[in-house]
Structure formats: C-alpha cells, structure tokens
Symmetry: C2
Subunit: 202 residues, 2 copies
C-alpha cells in the first residue's frame, strides 16, 4: 500500500486531480448506463454521486449528459487493429477477432444496447454515437474489403456494404444470442473461412 | 360504434370473458416488457393495473410472472414459414424474409432484448425462453440446411451450426445496427445469394 501511495505521490504535477476526477466521472457514467439499462437512468446528479464529485466538476468539462455519454462510450472502444495489408484473409481474421473481443465484453455490450434501446428518445445522441464511434470502425472493415476486391482476393462484383453487415452480424449475433453459450476460440476465423468459401459446392 | 357493440353482443357464449381478460393480461405484459426495458419492470401488480383486472384473475392462470412472460413472448412469435422443400435457395429466402419481418417489428424486438438484458437475473426464465421459443425456430433453419447438404445444393462439408449463426446474424444485426436505416426490400435474398456464392472469386 505504501508503495502505491508513493507512486501516486511521485506522479508528475502534470497529472492533475481533475484528470482523475474525469476518469471517475466517465467510469460512473458507464456503470450507470450498464446498470440502469438506458440513457434515462443516467443523470448528472447520479454520476456526481457515484463518482464522488460535485456537479460543477462535471459541468466544467461536459455541457450536458449527452456529451458525457458520448465521451464515455468512446473511452470504451479501443481502436480496431490496423490492417497489415499483406493478406486479405489475415486482415479479416484480425478484424473479426477484435470484433468478437469487443462484443464479448459484457459491460461494453450492455452500454451499447442501453444507448441503442434509448435511440428514439435521444436521436441526437444516437447520431453522434453512430457518426463518431461506430462508423469509423465500419470504415476500416470496408477499406479492407475494397482492398481485397482490388487485389483479386475477393470477387470483383462483391457488395462491400452487404459483406460488412454479414461479417459483423455473424459475430455480433453469436456473442449475444439466447442460449448460444461462450464463443469458441476459433469462431472469428471459422466465420471468415466459411464466408470466403460460400455455402454452395465449388 | 353500434355495429361493433352488436358484434360483441353476438359473440358466441363459448368465447368467455376470461379469454378476453387473458389477452388483455398478455398485452399488458408485453407493453410493460417493451416500455420498462426489463423483466424487473414487470410485476403482477403492474400487469393487473394495466390490463384492468384483479391480481387473482392473473394468478388463476399463471403461477408467477415468469410463466406469464414466457406465454406473452410465445404469443409474439408467429411460426416460421413451413419450408416447401423444392429448392434450397427458395427455402432460405423464405426463412430469411420471415426473420427480417420478425426483427423489424419494434415491439417484438424490444421485448426480446428486454428479456435478454435480464438474463443474468432470471436464468430459469432465460432457459425456458431459449428452449421453448428460440430453439424450435433455429431447428427449422438447421433442418433446411441439412436437407440442402443431402441434396447437394450445399457443400458436403458445410458447418450447419456456423451457417445458422451467419445467416441469422446477418439479418438480426442489420435490422438493429446503429444508423443502418431501414432494411432494403430485397435484403433477405441478397444475404442468401451472397452467402451461397462466397466472397472469394469462383
């Protein structure tokens, strides 16, 4: 314990208390999103109480709860792996695996669904969520698919958008479907292989 | 209005008041599931108040709220179309279309997600939901896939279980994904065609 305290004391002065408060606020927001099951369950009051800060501390950084929720959701997502561009199949493996990991993180998924479930009541929040958090990740996948078409590893007439939905859907659905159990270790690779080959005999 | 009242009055005596009450109870349960966003938001008291019946009327038919919720969810699902067995591709079209329709019904989807979101707190409810409502529908799809392998319309080494997840995932995800917009009319057919052909050049 002393050791930890020493480390804290040794922290450079550039890492101020306000940064620790910001992290506590973001964490509290995510906890409330996951537990209360919706945007309606998050309020600046509730976040302040849970984070152990005053409301003023929150309003100093975020104008409203929508802005806070967007930042909190963005903090949840790591970046997708940078596609290496050497082999289409390897790049798809890596993306699908990252997506499986993403969707297997219960808190993450609970937060997303709680936002999706509130989409009708918070259309602007939903728009920002889509534009700033979801779409950039989809674009990485589209770019890999386009490159695969260009390199001849994918069919020349491939429907990139449709393929995006099939690939992400196969992963997202499996991680969440009723009674489906844990996702097998090699699930991402098996999905990619099955999609590449197709269902019809060759 | 008089006409409607006459029709009600003319109802055969075999359609008793208890049946109308049962329908009101099931509808109230679904409303609460969809609106309250979770099994916890449903109580026998709340259902009784919403349906305009006494709690005794509910307990006469359902021992507890879990049993009531299962019956309500079962009432939401129509049967999947009976596969005609003439062409694998046509059967897959029909199943995927039915699945799109199912997933595009907002109240239906809200109810399912509200149950899925409560799965940890209500494991028995979740088990019954999977076993009695979800699995029989999955089995229809598996059966069509097995038949396609047997007829040579599908690859002899097809992974039926994996294909089930890919097919249902492609549809389920698209109907619900953030910012994806309405599902195109021909989406089900395009998914099936894309899956049949595969992503790699032939």
């Amino acid at each position: 314990m002393t050791h930890t305290t020493d480390q804290c004391a040794a922290r450079p002065p550039g890492r101020p208390r306000s940064e620790r408060a910001a992290k506590a606020i973001v964490d509290a927001t995510l906890d409330l999103l996951a537990e209360e099951g919706g945007v309606a369950g998050v309020s600046i009051e509730a976040v302040a109480a849970r984070a152990g800060v005053g409301k003023t501390t929150i309003y100093r950084r975020w104008p409203n709860k929508e802005a806070l929720i967007i930042d909190a959701l963005a903090a949840l997502k790591g970046p997708l792996p940078e596609p290496r561009g050497e082999s289409l199949r390897e790049d798809l493996y890596a993306l699908a695996k990252a997506f499986v990991a993403d969707k297997s993180d219960k808190k993450r998924v609970d937060c997303y669904w709680s936002v999706l479930g509130s989409s009708e009541r918070y259309p602007e929040l939903m728009d920002r969520f889509t534009r700033e958090i979801v779409e950039p990740r989809r674009e990485v996948i589209r770019e890999v698919l386009r490159r695969g078409v260009a390199s001849g590893e994918l069919r020349p007439d491939l429907d990139v958008e449709l393929t995006l939905w099939i690939l992400t859907g196969a992963v997202a659905h499996r991680t969440r479907a009723a009674g489906a159990g844990p996702v097998p270790e090699d699930y991402a690779e098996r999905v990619v292989d099955a999609l590449m080959t197709g269902l019809a005999p060759r």
